[in-house]
Symmetry: C2
């Protein structure tokens, strides 16, 4: 008998019919003899609708009230799912983040989990019940209701799986797994059967929307096996596993697992910066204070004592960032600031590239051969990212997908992972 | 400086615009120097919509999950109202029933308040903030979320007013007060300026929908002054006051305050019941066990050793009641059961009738003169109710309103009650 945490996203519980489908799937897992904990998101567009109401009554809603407002979405889902479960003869009990003891810090709208107590969930499981938990929410050390930020339900699920030493955390979503590229851009993209935590982390960081970055970090830190799959099919999805997990394929890691793109970023460049110590520190400290999430940073070699500093950030933060960069630029005697939102970040991710020299060179060659000019480059051990012009997205992603042999054949890790 | 509890019903907070209007009214009360506690209901049809969702996922939703589901409605209202209050520069803080310490028994969907702690509300008031509290909900002695049943937000408001020793509990609704008759039936019906607790209690029991019966009972037991008024005008509404309240008019009580009607009841009659001890006890015990709320009961004098027992109940309970009555009838050897849903209950309510003989006689005469046949009669010290054919509703209510001098002139208690 395994302990299984299942998380269902908003599209999986968008209406009463889908809710009943989820109940049937949960009941089946329970009947197979497993202990089941379910984490639910708000139904469909419920969270967006609540945010819309908030904007209609206030120009600047406070975090505390916003959290109280938004947490109702998951509470509606969890109580309805419990009713649907009872209706199919499966005993279930719903719990808010507070009732489950998901203790967070006091940062409203983006709280971090400090501890998961989980007493009442364990009690419910011991009584043979399915525990249905509201995702995305907790209670702060100051006893206030908090939310974990967008994608927070994934984090709730992984945190509960860690606390309960679950065998797997199943993340149900509206796609069938993690793909070698976005299937809307590359029709021949393949579903990946296995990924390491590091690969998934790089993919999430590079713009893959399938799993929230924080949830993957949490899973890596607590070694929680994740299975990303669709709530609309029974197919196996993508497993995210630690290197020492016995379910992990013993075959060698592929060089490249996938091509990820992100159109949500913009680039700012501070031009003609005097090349002296402390300039970068001043610039990025100022941006950090304003909560601007800087992603890639590139500084060119100094020519004639001045240099250019380019960096990318979420496009939503540009309005905040520009005046800060202009102010710092003026203080340090820079020439000016340029802005470009018409870009896309392309990333190759794969654990195999660690031991395969020449991946970067091949990537740059493929892009050059397809007339794609590279504006910025940044690398990690298992990822290479470049920024290129937005209009080159399709041609670049498809060319890379083909060049790195991702187009055809079965996924490398062909033996299906077996459940214990 | 007074302590004022204001309760806003669903129509008063039905959309963002109305929510902002409520915020403006609350802010004005606060700026006048009062300590203000606001109790809110769910927005417009929110509760009905949630119940509808529940019915779509389950044929028999459990009480615990239903309470979790329904309490989200008030939480949405309270957080939005706090945001709207901040937007007009009025500091406010929202509290769930649980956060406020509204402790109830464990009867899900119809819990009774055991205690109101109110620590956090007092704290918020001491800090100069408006406290916004979710109506209709509490937390049980078993630490589960409970609801107080329909109309429960009125009870929340009155209970908080009692716990905080508030000067007044203002109930904002979509009508301007309590009327001498339903204005849709009697166009010349007048708004009543004052009523005693007992009169309001009889009116609520007789079918007036303006205030929930339980809230009035609570107000009477704890001597909480209620002011029923409209959230859409600034007019004074109707004050419900104890006899010793200094705001109470010193003029003598009028004989009749109003004519109330109720079309929500049906009548059952058990025919030819052997007239021996214990039959009524058996019948009404059986109905009570099935949670049927019996209202009027009439038993005729025994003729030839048998009698008829008639009683009224909410029409919604008829389906439950009929088989019970038939079973008891068979056991005691009754002749049969008849059912009539085509009735209306008419009531005259007035504290003055205690000392005015002949009110009942006059009522029966007026009905007879208008061709209205009386099927049942029941009386209390300050109320006379009769059951008549549904089709006679308009003619009967109008005739009684005129005959008891309710049609014209100012209300008796013409001096407006003054706020301390």
């Amino acid at each position: 008998m395994a302990v299984i945490v299942q998380k269902y996203g908003g599209t999986s519980v968008a209406d009463p019919e889908r809710m009943r489908n989820v109940a049937a799937r949960v009941a089946k897992t329970r009947l197979a003899g497993n202990d089941v904990v379910v984490v639910v998101s708000a139904m469909g567009k419920a969270t967006d609708n609540l945010m819309d109401l908030a904007r209609q009554v206030s120009s600047s809603p406070q975090g505390r009230e916003m959290d109280m407002l938004l947490t109702t979405g998951e509470r509606i889902s969890m109580s309805l799912l419990c009713m649907a479960l009872h209706d199919v003869g499966c005993e279930a009990m719903s719990f808010t983040g507070s009732q489950v003891g998901i203790i967070t810090d006091t940062s409203h709208t983006k709280a971090k989990i400090i501890e998961v107590k989980g007493y009442r969930v364990r009690e419910a499981l011991a009584e043979g019940k399915v525990a249905v938990v509201a995702g995305f929410q907790g209670v702060s050390t100051a006893k206030e209701i908090t939310t974990l930020g967008r994608g927070g339900s994934d984090t709730t699920a992984v945190a509960l799986a860690a606390a309960l030493h679950a065998d797997v955390c199943e993340i149900y979503t509206d796609v069938t797994g993690v793909f070698s590229a976005d299937p809307r851009v590359v029709p021949q993209a393949r579903k990946l059967l296995q990924l390491s935590f590091d690969e998934m982390l790089e993919m999430a960081g590079a713009g893959s929307k399938v799993l929230a970055l924080r949830a993957v970090e949490f899973a890596r830190n607590h070694n929680v096996a994740i299975h990303v799959r669709s709530s609309f099919t029974l197919d196996e999805g993508t497993w995210i596993l630690g290197a020492d997990d016995e379910r992990k394929s013993k075959m060698e890691d592929p060089i490249i697992s996938g091509v990820v793109h992100d159109v949500g970023e913009s680039k700012l460049t501070l031009l003609g910066v005097p090349d002296r110590p402390g300039v970068s520190a001043l610039l990025f400290e100022s941006l950090a204070e304003a909560n601007v999430n800087v992603d890639m940073i590139v500084q060119n070699t100094s020519i004639n004592g001045t240099t250019d500093i380019s960096f990318t950030m979420p496009s939503a933060d540009v309005a905040t960032a520009v005046p800060i960069v202009e102010k710092v630029g003026a203080e340090v005697g820079a020439i000016g600031v340029t802005k470009n939102s018409d870009i896309v970040k392309l990333s190759l991710v794969g654990a195999g590239m660690k031991s395969s020299p020449g991946v970067a060179a091949k990537m740059f060659r493929v892009l050059a051969d397809n007339g794609v000019n590279i504006e910025m480059i940044s690398t990690s051990t298992i990822r290479i990212s470049v920024v290129v012009e937005r209009s080159k997205l399709e041609v670049a992603v498809r060319a890379l997908h083909t060049a790195f042999d991702l187009d055809s054949g079965e996924d490398y890790s062909s033996p299906l992972p077996e459940r214990k």
